[in-house]
């Protein structure tokens, strides 16, 4: 518990110093007081994820994840621009159901955000107990659960599994 509070305090303090940018005594004192308040208020929320910070291999997978994500995001934008300027709106939209093996809340949040910024998909709702995601897909190829999972989720689930679980 004390380690979680120390981590939150360090993160908030550095964030405050970047935002205020000039190193004067008043800024440092106000930042320290605010950091202590925030660390006592929010340490319950981050208590579950504290064990993730220890393994250094997770950071390497995270740095591998960023360029993959950026490339998919760029492809998504070009795809969206093509659909907008085409005269006959080439799409078959629908909401499909996909299955995921991730369990923790942080991993599910990252998976939902990644799917929203990916080509052709947008997360609508998460069912955490059953491990299902409801995804709005702009070009529905199949409405079967297993095949849709193969098309949409697999690529990122493999990386996020190594980062967060």
């Amino acid at each position: 518990m004390i380690k979680v509070r120390l981590n939150i305090f360090a993160a908030t303090f550095i964030f405050w110093l970047i935002l205020s940018w000039t190193l004067t005594a008043e800024n440092i004192i106000i930042g320290a007081v605010l950091g202590i308040c925030v660390s006592f208020l929010t340490s319950e929320l981050f208590n579950k994820d504290a064990k993730l910070l220890k393994k250094p291999l997770r950071y390497l997978w995270f740095f591998y994840y960023i360029p993959v994500f950026l490339w998919e995001c760029l492809k998504a934008n070009i795809d969206g621009a093509y659909r907008v300027i085409h005269p006959s709106l080439p799409m078959r939209p629908g909401i499909v159901k996909v299955k995921t093996n991730l369990k923790s809340e942080t991993a599910l949040t990252f998976l939902a955000n990644t799917l929203t910024l990916n080509p052709g998909t947008m997360t609508v709702d998460i069912d955490q107990a059953g491990g299902f995601l409801y995804v709005h897909w702009v070009d529905v190829k199949t409405d079967d659960v297993e095949k849709a999972t193969e098309y949409i989720v697999r690529k990122f689930e493999r990386i996020l599994m190594r980062i967060f679980e």
């Binding site: 939209p93 629908g94 909401i95 159901k97 929203t116 910024l117 709005h136």
Partner: protein, 111 residues
């Protein structure tokens, strides 16, 4: 236009501007709320991030530039969440999908 940094910054700002424009055009053209959110949230998020990155290249590691980098991180983390919240609340408040849609598993499972 003096240095190479400023030229690259202008190129990034122009790319971001084009994506912003296509996102807003999608907001006007597409037929229902899910497709509108779908197209515009992607294009506008990457476009505004690109504009902010251009600002960072223009200013370098100063006060403004580092804050622009922070703003990019904040935007990429929060914009998909707001799109998700709006889509779910639209579905729960009873907005129908487009009539040419293929399937709606969410409405089937909710009953």
């Amino acid at each position: 236009m003096n240095s190479i940094n400023e030229i690259i910054a202008y190129i990034f700002i122009a790319i971001g501007l084009a994506f912003d424009f296509f996102g807003c055009l999608g907001l006007v053209r597409f037929p229902d709320i899910y497709n509108r959110l779908h197209s515009s949230i992607k294009c506008v998020t990457l476009g505004t991030s690109s504009i902010l990155f251009g600002l960072f290249l223009y200013k370098g590691f100063t006060h403004t530039g580092v804050k622009a980098l922070l703003c990019i991180g904040f935007l990429v983390l929060t914009a998909p969440v707001s799109a998700h919240v709006l889509a779910r609340s639209a579905h729960k408040s009873g907005v129908k999908l487009w009539e040419k849609s293929v399937c709606d598993k969410y409405a089937e499972d909710k009953k």
